[in-house]
Amino acid sequence: METNLTPEQSLKLIDDMMRQAKRSFHRISFYFLLWGALLIGAMLLEFIMNTMGQPLYGKSWGVIGVIGGIISGVHGARQGKKEGASTTMDRVMMWLWTAFVITLVVTIVGYGVTGGGTPAGSILVLTGLPTFVSGQLMRFKPLIFGGILFWILGMASYFVTPPMITWLYIGAMLFGYVIPGYLLKRQEDGLRTA
């Protein structure tokens, strides 16, 4: 590799290298699939136990939050060791989702302490924020629509009865998290092999 580059070669080289570097963005679809599955599981468990007359009063969210936090932390640390580069986008995403999880935990604990009923509606509204912002930052429409869906169904859940809240919540998690997460995974897989 030596000098004597023509302007065309210089521009092509810059373009090629930038494309190469963009393929190094961290994969985040794992977190959408993980948290989507865990949060649906928590809601279903709450619903089933409630139906059986043994309500958990939101304890399953706390347990699943800890399990999800540990799995996410371990996965993130492993991924960080594998990757040789980190982008500004990676850092923005990391802090956006870290701030979201902290806000979520504080909100759920707040509901538990004050006995303020099911936190499902607030969870949905809160989840809409990082999902929508992530979608906009990545220019990935399924996440943008997912974020909007979280806000709409979160708002709707304040006006309906508890059994209906369960289905709104599960629908939001499925269409706002799991399906966009799966589509994102396909895109990430394609980007890696391109």
Binding site: M1, S10, L11, L13, I14, M17, A21, E83, G84, A85
Partner: protein, 95 residues
Amino acid sequence: MAFAPLDPILHNQLRLAIMSLLVTVEEGDFNFLLEKTGATRGNVSVQITKLKEAGYITVLKTFKENYPNTVCSITTKGLTAFEVYVKAIKDYLKT
């Protein structure tokens, strides 16, 4: 029309490749630069030193899983030089 002279530090295939990678990512380690440029270990090392001496990148020696790890990131001076270089070659192409 007089053309701006091209920065000799950047007008080198490998150094330009390294700078283009570092402009896109916030920081990249030695193996990342090695893999993406496809150049030899020795050549990448020499060009990193030249870019560092020009003040275009910072080089941080750390450890990753008990092995030495060199992490590079672009400086403000490097970013400005890169932007000036890109503008200069675009001007060449316009004529």
